[in-house]
Symmetry: C2
Subunit: 193 residues, 2 copies
DNA sequence: CGCATGCATTGAACTAGGACAAGAAATGAA
DNA sequence: TTCATTTCTTGTCCTAGTTCAATGCATGCG
């Protein structure tokens, strides 16, 4: 049950069994059906979720009413609106929604503080997770500015090979920042290479 | 001398005077003339720099040979290629260059570890800095995807009012992800509102 | 089973922004 | 002060991607 998340959190920091026990005792398991919105715009995001199973999307709605997907999170990924809500005390501008039936381990800011108090080494692990998150976001910014839609799509396929089977095309278009119609045109052009 | 950086690091975590003394003793002061490249693509970024005075830009060169500016850092900002280089052990894809004569406090990864060992509370402060950095990058991604060039420019002026006086227009265009010519056209259109 | 709603595809007309070129203005070095 | 280099502006043409249909295709659901 805990092996996935323990492996994940131990990726850059090595923990003793008793530290992992403390960690595991603070996690809250949650099973959530598909199409459930875990976080609405305007709410405070009071969780960080580790995806044990399933797929979620994090998105916002722009000034013209368009959904823009910021992140897909599948097995072994973390999802939260940590950057805006927690510590900043600002309501979130994003939605987090399950796309499939999901299982999570959840963490509230309070239990996270409790964890840091009981086992300070986790502060470091979460800093490194944050850093990786930043690297991914920066990479995405890089791609968004510098690549054509076709390049972005090919890179997406390369980077998330399973996701294109699991989620609807128009979600992928939204993630890539292009219209669903244009993605369709790109796909037909690629198909007849 | 240290008041600026101490104020900055104390923004979200409160430190005792002796902790700040340890911190300050580990900082390396550096004065650098304008147009100096502090980090080249392909190098390991082995510093985090706090800008005491001056202005730097962080940029990469895309597949078509275009410079794209990721960040301007002015007084009281941190700059580094922390996300890619440090901990990931990958050579950097970015350049960091001074645009004005600059003064910095520098930090190597090793002295940072030393700091965390001597005063663990800094681990927390740096995690929160990282988090804010992530928030800014996410906001920038948000804007890049969802806003028109004019909107991005107006928001830039609003957000960095002094910067448009300090740096060349074509750098701002590069930061906004648009051509210098198009920025010029936007400016004339705005001028005759 | 049939129906409705959402999803993907295709085409035609449109637009934001880019590429290129050439001149004007500003900056800076000797 | 002069000359050179960089920066900014303006115009023309061009293209990647959008918008708005219309149509066929899957689905899930009573």
């Amino acid at each position: 049950m805990y092996s996935q998340i323990n492996k994940n959190i131990s990726r850059y920091v090595t923990f003793k069994p008793e530290e992992l026990e403390i960690f595991n005792s603070l996690l809250e398991y949650k099973s959530v059906p598909k199409k459930t919105i875990l976080l609405h715009e305007g709410e405070m995001c009071n969780f960080e979720a580790f995806v044990i199973k399933g797929c979620v999307r994090k998105y916002y709605i722009d000034a013209n009413g368009f959904e823009v997907i910021l992140q897909f999170a599948i097995e072994n990924a973390w999802v939260s609106d940590i950057s805006f809500s927690i510590y900043e005390d600002k309501p979130s501008r994003v939605y987090i929604e399950t796309l499939e039936d999901c299982e999570f381990f959840m963490f509230s800011p309070d239990t996270k503080e409790e964890l840091f108090a009981k086992a300070p080494k986790f502060e470091r692990a979460f800093r490194i997770l944050m850093q990786r998150n930043l690297a991914v976001t920066q990479e995405r910014l890089f791609n968004t500015i510098s690549k054509t839609a076709t390049e972005k799509y090919l890179e997406f396929l390369d980077h998330y090979p399973t996701l294109s089977q699991r989620v609807a095309q128009h979600y992928i278009a939204s993630y890539l920042g292009i219209s669903a119609e244009f993605l369709s045109k790109i796909r037909t052009k690629i198909a007849k290479h």
